[in-house]
Amino acid sequence: MAIEQVVINGMVLGCIIALSAIGLTVTYRILNFANFAHGDFVTLGAYIAFLFSAILGLNFLAACALAIAAAALFSVGLDCLIWKPMRSKGASSTALMILSIGLAICLRNLIVFVFTPDIERFPLPVKEGMTLGGVVITPYQVAVTAVAVVLMFAVHYLLRKTSIGLAMRALSDNMDLARVSGIDVDRVVRYTWATGMALAAAAGILYGLITNINPNMGWFMVIPIFAAVILGGIGNPYGAMMGGIIIGLSQELSTLILPSEYKIAVSFFIMIVVLLVKPKGLMGGG
């Protein structure tokens, strides 16, 4: 495959990894634990959109919007049910990580239970790719990149220009200081979960647009997502965007010299090198 083609594919994949990584990195920093269920949040978003569009027959765009909203609501529900009681008990980050594994197992098998383990596709027509200077780009790839870029700008706006974004940044700097300065910590945490989950759901839908959906899709993205988060510096959303793009590009570029089965190994290798050389990531953090 031509190198230009590989770069395009890598950018598109990178955008999806970046979106998922932003969601993971903000919750990682503010709640101080690595949420291993984040990959399954990605899967869940895709399947809710599948439920609304393919099974209930809604218009696809409406189904996606509804799915993202439903996923965000679900994450707020999880906060009330699980994370908030754990916070008030003063649970350590290790306890939360073990719990998140339980949640990941539950969600994935719930999806298998409801939707079967088979590969599904969104009810959309197959579109021919356009050829631009020897590179084939499908309309879906264009749409995925456009939506991802818009969402990344939306995150930037949320963090920099809104009061809730300011509160999130204050919380990630120092939770106790934020609390004594009168910030309603629980409310900000709920917004953080909702934002992270909405981005994960969007990433799941976008991934389904360029490939297909299956119950393991998110689990298989966990390693690239964590690699992007660590590469960009834990807690740094801009780092996660950059990390996502670098990981996506490296994974696709590696197919030029390695069998494509080892794409994931490339992100793993990058992660190990970052941990050895610069554990705080390229842009600082955690």
Partner: protein, 299 residues
């Protein structure tokens, strides 16, 4: 019925050994290893490949698997164990997945997704095939007793007390002049060797191994065994292994009473395991036999 009981005890015994390795790392040292199954796979494949193709004696092949897994454990510990606890969790989970891709794709060595069979089992010429499982149960239980007593001795030794002090408070252990990093690497290496031993036993029991035997979920079977029985309590691990496999095998019969497809029943059983992990962590993190004050689960 007896045969069925023997197989449950066999698999519970093998997983008890596997989980004892995890308990050494998590229960006694506080290390989060989310890729324990990777070391089990290293043990199983090394033993099988050495004994089948190269005629290496079985005992030596098992030991080779353990040594390789121990080295890999130390190797993974080096970039991660000086950093926050979560990095080890991420890196080990990545390791176990990538190892599985290697086993799936390097067909020249591992026969890929088809896997390996027809390899020698210990004393297979001396024991009649009908009673082999019963014989092998005795082997597994003897190994279990040896590993159990070995770990109990170790954790009561000065070495084990340092591990516990690391779990309780790393800074204090460091301030007492203990080289915390080196103890953590040793614990991870030893735990991985025990996982490899369990892997070799699993291969002998199954008589056929393929990468599907080493899915990430197997790691979390060990986690639920440890958390259910009581982290940091080896008796708890034994209890957890029996309860877990009792439930997991017994729940297979739910099929007859539920109007669901086999896939649905299968996913429901695993969903229940995840739910159990959530509920335990929320309401009884010390499990059945663990001591709450011994666990560093609260800030």
């Amino acid at each position: 019925m007896i045969d069925y009981l023997v197989t449950i005890l066999l698999i519970a015994g093998i997983y008890a050994i596997f989980a004892l390795g995890l308990n050494l790392e998590w229960g006694f040292t506080g290390l989060l290893n989310f890729g324990h199954v990777g070391f089990m796979a290293v043990g199983a494949y090394t033993t099988v490949l050495l004994s089948m193709n190269n005629g290496v004696p079985l005992l030596l092949s098992v030991l080779a698997g353990m040594v390789l897994a121990g080295l890999l454990g130390a190797f993974l510990g080096i970039p991660t164990l000086k950093l926050r606890a979560d990095y080890l969790a991420i890196v080990t989970i990545g390791f176990s997945e990538i190892l599985r891709y290697l086993l799936l794709n390097e067909e020249w060595l591992t026969n890929g997704p088809i896997g390996l069979c027809g390899f020698p089992r210990p004393f297979q010429d001396l024991v009649p095939i009908q009673s082999y499982n019963l014989f092998f149960l005795v082997v597994v239980l003897s190994v279990l007793v040896i590993i159990y007593s070995g770990i109990e001795l170790l954790i009561r030794s000065p070495w084990g007390r340092v591990l516990k002090s690391i779990r309780e408070n790393e800074e204090i252990a460091t301030s007492l002049g203990k080289h915390v990093f080196s103890y953590k690497v040793q614990s991870l290496a030893l735990g991985s060797m025990i996982a490899a031993l369990a892997g070799s036993l699993l291969a002998f029991y199954l008589q056929y191994i393929n990468p599907r035997n080493f899915m990430p979920i197997e790691t979390f079977y060990a986690w639920i065994i440890v958390v259910l029985g009581g982290s940091g309590n080896n008796k708890g691990v034994l209890l957890g292994a029996v309860l877990f496999w009792g439930f997991f095998s017994g729940s297979r019969f739910a099929q007859e009473y539920l109007p669901l497809s086999p896939t649905q029943v299968g996913s429901m059983r695993v969903m229940f395991i995840g739910l159990m992990l959530i509920i335990l962590m929320m309401f009884r993190p010390q499990g059945i036999l663990g001591k709450k004050e011994e666990l560093s689960l609260e800030r």
